[in-house]
Amino acid sequence: MPPTDQSMPPIEGLYRQYGAPLLLFAISICGETSRAQDAVHQVFLTLMETNNLMNALDPKAYLFASVRNFLFNDNKHRKRNVGIEADQLWFTPPDRDHAAELNLRRALQALPEDQRQVVVLHIWGELTFAQVAEVLSIGANTAASRYRYALTKLREAMVVKEKASV
């Protein structure tokens, strides 16, 4: 994750630091890359206008919660849920291993939504379980147990796909 440049305005620094995991989190909720990008941009635009972030106790958790709330409100407004896009990249894979990226993406897509969100927040968002609990309005123990279930399923799915591809 890129370090925050001290010379940047605070919101721009946060955008550079958390933009990618926020986008991934948004995709894991709504399934559409374009809508997820809109959500991330809209959250940052609102923050620039209102400057609410300065009052937040935990700006990082606040950002993730804002993206989640935006998408939930947007869902109510649209009154529809769209399936996760199958062909849009979510990650830049290590060593350009695009097959592994596809495996991971499919494994994440196969997870239940609540587990997928916990995994994304904890691994790529680098949130603690307490922060994950705050974002998702659940208990910290629930967050931890969802994470363990999700990790087990992910590993199984990816091992099976790795074996299948060999």
Partner: protein, 127 residues
């Protein structure tokens, strides 16, 4: 709480870097649908003008071949029918003196004679 394999698997998963959001598009002058429409309209207008020019050139060439030159000044003078403008133009270009003579003849019959002492033209001529 988590075993070592979990931690290693987590490190492996973290090696996949999530994609950064793309920058918001900036409204460019050349990329808007309106500008494309204007460009298409401009091309159409230029095309129409070019087609009209070609058509005019073709018509003028055909007129040349159709025998505008074939009428001689004597024939024009002898004829009681009024010659058309293209015929007169051709006469003015090709035979200047004949054209001047033709105009003089026409002036006699078409312009006022200024015979009256108080005619407007004669008054104006004096001034």
């Amino acid at each position: 709480m988590f075993d070592r394999d979990d931690e290693q698997f987590k490190i492996y998963l973290k090696s996949f870097r999530p994609l950064a959001p793309q920058a918001l598009p900036i409204a460019g002058v050349g990329n808007t649908p309106g500008s494309r429409l204007r460009i298409a309209f401009a091309f159409t207008a230029v095309g129409c003008l070019a087609a009209a020019s070609v058509l005019l050139i073709v018509i003028s060439h055909r007129a040349d071949r159709a025998g505008i030159q074939a009428i001689s000044p004597a024939e024009i003078q002898a004829s009681r029918v009024e010659p058309s403008t293209p015929v007169l133009t051709r006469l003015a270009l090709d035979e200047h003196e004949a054209f001047a003579e033709f105009l003089s003849e026409k002036a006699k019959s078409q312009f006022p004679a200024m015979r009256s002492e108080r005619s407007t033209l004669r008054v104006l001529a004096r001034e």
